[in-house]
Symmetry: D2
Subunit: 266 residues, 4 copies
């Protein structure tokens, strides 16, 4: 009878990531002990996410991507949420979680969005002549007034972090059609629409790089989350080390603009 | 008047981690752009958490620590919680957060506990003769039947991941009093209590290493969280890629053992 | 100068819900102390969400809605996530949060979806003859093979919880065009498509009721969250009271189906 | 063989709260359908948490407790965390969860702490003469300079919300030894230490009431969480309805006080 049940209801949890037999761990087929001796953390991240080891150039890009997003200061909502949760008298891990919960469509979501956009745009396209493809694509986007994801910077006409990522890529000999296309598109916007400031931004650059490394766009947020988690940890540690509990808004930071006092007749 | 308010209520948010002036980012004083070109991710993590750059040996240890904890398979509660949250129809980042919320006293908490224990144990102690200190400490712990944190393994008499971490440390020329002491303590347990299996475990080894690197024990959980986040991301991506929504427990996996049906007279 | 800053940057936090002046609290204009003496919790929930007090009939419907969703047993992913987080050695509130994080598009999201669907469907429509409108709507939906949200039940041909909610509504004299329309639509599906089982389900009924009470569809999830939170609390308390920490999947509950062991040449 | 496995590994999930057989739901033995028709939400909460139906007086107290904590304005960290998470572009339920994650030792934790303290204090004590027991207890606490949990208010010499809760209790004929004792203790502090302002506060009053209702102190946080969740929902709905995404700290709200810019030599 028990077997019948088993036939009807197959094992519900399956994974192709890690085999753990009584503490003997293999990740994507490789012995974790061997990995400790010989892999860098970014190479191990590449392996766990993608299933294969990175090339040297890919490993360098993983490092550069993660460093580029490691922290952006105290102002973003993720840091505020993380510190507020900690200040209520909560655990370190729960506070990190609150920070990560803040990473949505408007906060760290641009890599995923740009990667999806780029993959769909190039899917099935002839990429033998990328400059020409970029030229035509930009012409179409300008004519149809559609937004091209991954371009534009609030202040700079050249995004300095993008420049560095591209430098690392050039030095490492890294780069495929997605990155090439994005750079050509940025060039074309400068030619066809010089009055507008639309440099390749850091999210667009990272998106193109992870597409060239063969990652699924569904992993776009993973890159931001992995990169920024150390920054969140540093902020929570700082909150723990030198701030008092219970971060209430100050009197002069909030107002009530609802209905006036009224009487409850019930 | 406005100044008076400012005097009474100082700026409530301050940080010594990162300066971000309109996108021009300095982390612990260093230009983020320069970091992209020249720092590895583990070195940047060291910097953001500690405020200074790691030595080469420290950078190698950071890599080895993070790799050693990157994933442990599908069975732990963190992976289950993360996949269940995703399966309800929720976002990637919220699912990662649920996994991290699972890392408590019984899950990934041992590094923090061991580091705190070790720092407090050695504080103010004369460490000029560590073997003797270890010999006396173990004698006391055995006599008083107190538990020594960071030792013991469910299966192995030597923890294989610990061995690799120690190998990396030896090759890199890394190691200070905390790691030396822990290794001597493990040796003493083998001598003084040979019938018991109390090898230095991976949490104890990592704890000793981060104490030697000068980290606060309050950052103990940060090491586990940073290390395991890529593993959680891989599991959520796998859930997204090949499982159906809504992970309900199967009929044969749960029972009701409460009161029998009864009538509501109200 | 300070004033200039103030002009440029207005107070960033504003609320029309609650005024709290040094602990003297008014909610939607009413003194919280008076509310304690005279309002039921569901009436207070109505007030805080909507800004006005409920009628007697509305108060009865609030009670019935919340009771109908208070718990559904141990099987849903939210309970599993909440218990797993607790089992890792985490706090009560963090575990409740993990449960609520599981309520997504596929888990407790149907009220929101149905309410949005229903409001958009009836917007601008002439509702003077609801039976006729329902008849035409169902005809169109069947012809165009579109799915009508809020109908259908896996097992029952009549959803028993819906029946009770409708009974409560009838006894209380509650009901407007949305609920009437939904009931007529369900009737029409029975007439026009008798071979299919599409009774008004509990999510569709609640959606219609909250639309009749004038709530924004954006509050659809709030009704489920408020209703189910006590159930989550009961489960976490049960976990705390009688289970051991660390809910790892059993050996026979999971499999590894990834690549075979391989050698790391690096 | 399969049976052997089953013997070794019993069903891992069990519950005495709710029986759900293909959608036929019984909560603590009672048919959920019947509950919809006849129970108020607070009575159903009492049932799901405690296992039995409340008396009329207990039901009134449940209402009063929940109303007393339903919201406290925009200033507390829970509201800030919830709104920040939403502002990053995240879901309603994830934002509610962030608010609940903020409820820690310093935010909504006082009910649990007071209930635990009170139960332990009275355990095994002779309560036949409560005024005398209170008199002696206060004398001891003052002599030993120990803090008595549940007393004290930042502003008021009488906590107005406590007064209302006591009024509701008196009108309903509710009250046992815990509430009586707490009131006597407050009276004694006024007599023995008149210069200090130590009225029974709302957390202490709720703690005493739930102890009198026979609840486990481990459910102390549940009362605050259930009560405040509607308030959090109202705040997130307000954020959704009238605020722009991405709540970044304003320039004048934060400062950097870390090391000066320095050069990366690596």
């Amino acid at each position: 009878m028990s077997e019948v049940i088993e036939n009807k209801r197959p094992v519900s949890w399956r994974t192709a990531i890690t085999k753990n037999e009584d503490g003997d761990i293999h990740i994507r087929g490789y012995n974790l002990e061997d990995m400790i001796s010989s892999l860098s953390f970014p190479a191990a991240i590449f392996l766990v996410l993608k299933g294969e080891l990175p090339s040297d150039a890919e490993e360098k890009m993983m490092n550069a991507i993660f460093v580029s997003c490691i922290d952006a200061g105290i102002a973003p909502p993720s840091v505020g949420a993380a510190r507020k949760v900690f200040s209520g008298g909560n655990s370190f891990n729960s506070s990190v979680a609150a920070g990560i919960m803040s990473f949505g469509d408007y906060h760290g979501g641009a890599i995923e969005q740009s990667a999806k956009f780029l993959l769909e745009l190039l899917e099935g396209k002839d990429t033998s002549n990328i400059p020409q493809l970029a030229e035509e694509t930009v012409r179409t986007y300008l004519a149809e007034k559609k937004r091209f994801l991954g371009l534009g910077h609030k202040i700079h006409t050249v995004d300095p972090r993008t420049t560095r990522l591209i430098n690392v890529a050039e030095k490492a000999g890294f780069g495929g059609k997605h990155l090439t296309f994005m750079l050509e598109v940025a060039k074309q916007y400068k030619i066809q629409k010089p009055e507008k400031n639309l440099p390749l931004n850091v999210d667009g650059a990272i998106a193109a790089i992870i597409c060239d490394m063969g990652f699924d766009w569904k992993l776009g947020k993973a890159f931001f989350i992995i990169a920024r988690t150390p920054g969140l940890c540093a902020h929570i540690h700082e909150e723990w080390s030198r701030e008092k509990p219970f971060r209430r808004l100050e009197h002069n930071q909030h107002i009530y603009d609802g209905v006036d006092d009224r009487k409850l007749d019930k």
